[in-house]
Amino acid sequence: MNTKGLGRPIIREIVKIVEETELTKTFYFNGEGLFAKPGQFYMLWLPEIDEKPISACITNIEEGFIGLSIKKVGRFTEEIQQRKIGDKVGIRGPFGKGFNHEKGRKAIFIAGGIGIAPIRSIFDLLKKEQEELVLIYGAQTDSDLVFKEYFTQFTNNVTYCTDDGSFGYHGFPTDILRNFLEKEIKKGGELNYSIYGCGSELFLKAVLDLIASIDQSLLTHTQLSLADRYMRCGVGLCGSCIIDDTGLSVCKDGPVFTGEILAKTTDFGIYGRNPDGSKSKIQPHY
């Protein structure tokens, strides 16, 4: 197998920082040797602090940079947000299998919170090739929504949602998705859509349940990127990120799985795995 990218952290200076919202910043790096396929992820190392999984978000091969969008939720993500231009971090990867671009199908993107990061990577690929791009993107509040101007440039089929009604639709992205799919069904004909989703696992579970209730056959065309999983190795070795009952690893077999596979797991959206390997109920968060 090709072992490129599997190795130790590559050290890169932060070359640009964009403050997207109060809680989210995008960090840019020289991308040489690090370019990812949409849906892959990196292990980001802050020396003497910690190392955590972060999705490939912005991949600009022509101009030679990558951008990682990170939301402050705890110790590691707080630490990185204090870093300045010129500071050094370590990056391992890219890891995982990423999204499978289903050619010939129309695309729906559905993201919750910082789940927008990997969605942007697949959105960016498809915007070059496809006309119809439907984006449904929700967060707790307006100031959590990132890349708003960006998306609007490339599609006029965006719906923003906030839990508190501070921007866009007041309610959940799943409401919008349900309405959209039901409308399409009423129009008649096949639901020729691929659905690409990312967000908290409870959110993704809601998306999966919704799709299953509307049209089981859409499950194979639903690809969800899991992001609530504790990880160590990133390469399918340690078992920290296994989802029962399939025995699949999120880092190597995922982080993107089809709805069909996720529907078979007993853990998805229910149990996460702690660093010691024990399981605990997944808690709500964006």
Binding site: P9, I11, G90, C238, S278
Partner: protein
């Protein structure tokens, strides 16, 4: 089809390939997936009396230039109570699972074994050789008295064979085997990872959060083969399970020729595109080799020892 069955003392497994401890072995579902992939048996993650979150990250990374890995997970595990619940499905499924256990007091070993005995283990693998396990790791091996008492205790309570996993961080690994075997060990597993460190020269910091860790993978294969060869020379009657850097059928054969009755595979799972085929692929290459040579698997064991 050539027979790949191998005998480790009283135990018989369908293929000499065994999943190594600490790799994909915390959940029943991943252990089962490895079994479905042709392995003869699977060793669980090393389990202690209490839950242990291990070290913060980085805890594992690869060194592709030598097809190796560095790790300092620090014996992270959910503790025997939680783990027992997780493995209960095996009371029905009856997969050949070896439970790796660790502890630094007789009482811990007794308690862990009495609990896990209920799962009808294929064997126990006593891990006294983790180079980043702190007071539960190598320091146990290096305290002869303690080491002897833990093996004796394990034997006393276990309802199945007890294997002891040794470290190459030793003057002579066979001296540890001597202690293990004279205390009742049914088989020796060699080798665990070697004490090692990688320093990042840009940030001038050891990469592993624990600084030091263990080296595994292809880099250590000649060290593992040598350990098995020496063990077999001194203890030809004690079954040996070879571990360290095995990726291909050739590697397995090298260990068998050195004297191993079976082998464990860990790091190779990170270097294969298709984890589901690792076992079946090696099995079929082993079969071809045996057919080609007109030998039975058991005839390979120790065959590199001449006269």
């Amino acid at each position: 089809m050539t027979d790949l069955q191998t005998q480790i003392g009283d135990i018989s497994i369908r293929s000499p390939l065994i999943l190594a401890a600490g790799v994909l072995g915390t959940s029943f579902s991943s252990i089962k997936r490895v079994y479905n992939n042709g392995f003869g048996a699977m060793v669980s993650k090393s389990i202690g009396i209490k839950p242990n979150a291990g070290y913060v990250n980085p805890t594992i990374f690869l060194l592709p230039e030598t097809r190796s890995a560095m790790n300092a997970v620090g014996l992270a595990n959910p503790g025997v109570e939680d783990f027992f619940e997780k493995m209960k499905p095996n009371l029905e499924e009856k997969l050949p699972i070896i439970y790796s256990i660790y502890g630094n007091e007789e009482e811990q070993i007794r308690a862990i074994i009495e609990k896990l005995n209920q799962l009808n283990p294929l064997a126990y693998e006593l891990n006294v050789s983790c180079p980043h396990g702190g007071k539960f790791g190598l320091s146990v091996l290096h305290d002869d008295e303690l080491f002897r008492s833990l093996v004796t205790t394990a034997k006393k309570y276990a309802t199945c064979p007890v294997w002891v996993k040794l470290s190459p961080n030793a003057v002579n690994i066979t001296d540890y085997a001597e202690i293990a075997i004279s205390s009742g060990a049914d088989a020796i597993v060699a080798i665990n990872t070697l004490k090692a460190m990688v320093i990042d020269i840009e940030t001038m910091t050891p990469v592993l959060a624990n600084k030091a860790g263990g080296l595994s993978g292809k880099a250590i294969k000649p060290i593992g083969v040598r350990a098995v060869y020496d063990l077999y020379s001194r203890f030809p009657k004690t079954p040996i399970i070879g571990v360290g850097g095995i990726e291909t059928a050739e590697d397995v054969i090298e260990y068998l020729l050195a004297g191993a009755s079976a082998v464990e595979i860990g790091t190779a799972f990170a270097y294969t595109d298709d984890q589901e085929k690792l076992g079946t692929q090696i099995n079929s290459e082993l079969e071809s080799y045996l057919k080609d040579k007109g030998l039975k698997l058991e005839e390979l064991i120790g065959k590199a020892h001449k006269e």
